[in-house]
């Protein structure tokens, strides 16, 4: 039986950690020197055991477990990356057409001293934040704001950095009536118009149309345990077997991991996560992501505007796998 969330998947690890924390507390309070030494010795052994367990748990992580890690509530979100990697960020809001969206955030910032435009999905950490962010499911106005920021980036010659982390675009009645499909399509198309370099980083969930809407970029990077999928595994299981609870099986069928995306030639680089995933050592993760963005921007910077556009077209033009055979006959 597969775990259904990240916390329960790591439950034994958590128990072990709680036990160690308690032992440390006892050791701190222990007055008797020899008892204290004995406790300290045991704590060291426990910590060794925990490290071994952690390493084993994160060796050969299954496809479904990657989905759980990608959705983990303590995983760094877009705003965390913005704070850690950029300076002078100013959030810009509104689609200038009557609506504001809080599932996609964005604005200009400095990256290693140079101006860039940031656009990313934002998840919430608690119930009220999650509701405010609409669970990172953007409505049409989110994509229309993104288009506005893309256009501004082009105007002021700023590369665009996207952070992708959404379960899907918003499927509600309001979104349908305001043209969610058109908004996503228009955002994808706008990204192909840009002559400034664009880099997308899938930091958690790359959920179908909602994700590609801001990820038709010159370079697409994925964190080691992030996922990118045409449909959520539960939705796939619902269609295939009419049983959403068979998500773990569907996750394997969908080949939605970073490693599989790379094997199909659909992404440019996998960014390794610290042992225990990004949430265990965010600082280490931020450094890796920063270095990768700098590297890819550096490579793209030397291209002329025309070359940037042509390279992006050529990159996506090649995507797809099919056979060529003798024509079909009735």
């Amino acid at each position: 039986m597969s775990a259904m969330d990240h916390n329960s998947w790591e439950s034994e690890l958590r128990e072990l950690e709680t036990f160690i924390a308690n032992a440390k507390e006892r050791s701190r309070k222990e007055q008797n020197e020899s008892d204290k030494a004995l406790l300290e010795d045991q704590i060291l052994k426990l910590e060794e055991g925990r490290d071994k367990y952690l390493k084993a748990l994160y060796t050969n992580v299954g496809d479904w477990e990657k989905v759980l890690i990608a959705r983990a509530q303590k995983r760094p979100y877009t705003q965390d990356y913005i704070t850690a990697l950029f300076q002078d960020f100013v959030e810009l809001q509104g689609d200038r057409n009557g609506f504001a969206d809080n599932a996609i955030i964005g604005g200009p910032a400095l990256f290693e001293g140079k101006p860039v435009m940031i656009v990313g999905h934002q998840k919430g950490r608690n119930i009220s934040e999650r509701q405010f962010r609409n669970f990172a499911m953007a409505k049409p106005e989110g994509y229309r704001k993104a288009i506005r920021l893309f256009e501004m980036a082009e105007r002021f010659n700023m590369p665009v950095i996207s952070f992708v982390d959404t379960p899907a675009a918003d499927p509600g009645v309001e979104s349908e009536s305001r043209g969610i499909s058109e908004a996503i399509a228009a955002s994808i198309m706008k990204m192909f118009e840009l002559s400034v370099p664009t880099v997308a980083v899938v930091i958690g969930e790359g959920g179908s149309g909602g994700a590609i809407g801001i990820a038709a970029s010159s370079r697409v990077l994925m964190l080691q345990y992030s996922v990118y999928s045409v449909i959520p595994p539960e939705g796939c299981a619902a269609i295939l077997w009419r049983m959403p609870e068979r998500g773990p099986e569907a996750a394997r069928a969908l080949k939605l991991t970073a490693q599989q995306a790379q094997s199909f030639g659909l992404i440019d680089e996998i960014l390794p996560e610290p042992i225990g995933s990004a949430q265990r050592s965010p600082i280490e993760m931020f450094a890796t992501v920063k270095e990768a963005i700098a590297k890819h921007l550096g490579e793209l910077e030397v291209l002329t505007p025309d070359q940037v556009r042509e390279a992006r077209f050529a990159k996506f033009r090649k995507m797809g796998q099919f056979d060529t055979v003798a024509p079909a006959k009735k």
């Binding site: 069928a253 099919f322 060529t324």
Partner: protein, 266 residues
């Protein structure tokens, strides 16, 4: 609907219709106006000039890149049913004497879903229009991206949309026709960024499928939710055009929006 029989039942109002009347009425119910789904071949025959269609890209066939369960079986069944390798039939045709690049979807082939082959054929249709200086006309009929090809299918959204951008740069008009149903990954990519969008009456048009909406807790919906009429009301499409008038409407659009291309050729 068995064509061999003398009469059949409308799928919407359930009234009995004589097959001869039904065919003459382009498979639109004479009582309730329901536009029944038709194959790509029939659509081409009823829309474009007689014998003008030259099919291209007939050699493209889906593999099973993900080794997805039962995918090959589903493909083979669809191939046998339609005599095609994919939901999209594409090529060059003439509309009232004017050259056009066309792609027509067949819902009968795995729900018209877009995998690598459909994405490639749509892309080639748009590129052909851009390169050869003729309008593109795409008839959409799809449940969305093809789940069985995973992320490869999702990326077809980007690939096809990029091709629309090439039409814009080349100055060739692209007209999309939404037929029943035009959904999800197809609607959220090349379909929605056409210069002109027309739809058949009552066609199902929407982003989230019924099951997805249900899972997301979307319960109360308007009566006309996710129909062509709903889209028209909310400014998302240009017009609703009955099947009988489709050829005439498309001809006018090609003559006007594509007029500059015809002058160059003349």
């Amino acid at each position: 609907m068995k064509q061999s029989e003398a009469f059949l039942q409308c799928q919407s109002c359930k009234k009995i219709i004589f097959s001869v009347d039904f065919e003459q009425n382009l498979r639109v119910c004479p009582y309730c106006g329901h536009h029944h789904r038709i194959s790509a071949e029939t659509r081409i025959q009823w829309t474009f000039d007689e014998d003008s269609f030259e099919e291209t890209d007939t050699d493209l066939r889906s593999g099973n890149p993900l080794d997805f369960p039962d995918y090959i079986d589903k493909l083979r069944t669809a191939e046998q049913k339609t005599g095609k390798f994919d939901s999209i039939t594409g090529g060059r045709a003439k509309l009232s004497g004017m050259p056009v690049s066309i792609a027509v979807a067949d819902f009968g082939f795995m729900g018209g879903s877009m995998g690598s082959v459909a994405g490639e054929k749509i892309t080639r249709c748009l590129e052909r229009a851009a390169n050869e200086g003729m309008p593109a006309i795409i008839f959409c009929a799809s449940g969305g991206a093809r789940m069985q090809e995973g992320l490869l299918s999702l990326m077809q959204m980007a690939k096809t949309t990029a091709a629309v951008q090439q039409c814009r740069e080349a100055g060739v008009p692209y007209i999309a026709v939404f037929t029943d149903p035009t959904m999800a990954g197809v609607l959220a990519s090349y379909a929605s960024v056409a210069d002109v969008i027309v739809a058949e009456p009552k066609a199902l048009v929407g982003f989230a499928g019924a099951r997805v909406s249900k899972q997301a807790g979307v319960s109360k919906v308007p009566d006309d939710f996710q129909t062509a009429e709903f889209c028209l009301k909310h400014g998302m499409i240009d017009a609703i055009v009955p099947r009988k008038e489709m050829r005439a409407t498309l001809t006018s659009l090609v003559k006007t929006l594509g007029g500059h291309l015809l002058e160059v050729k003349a």
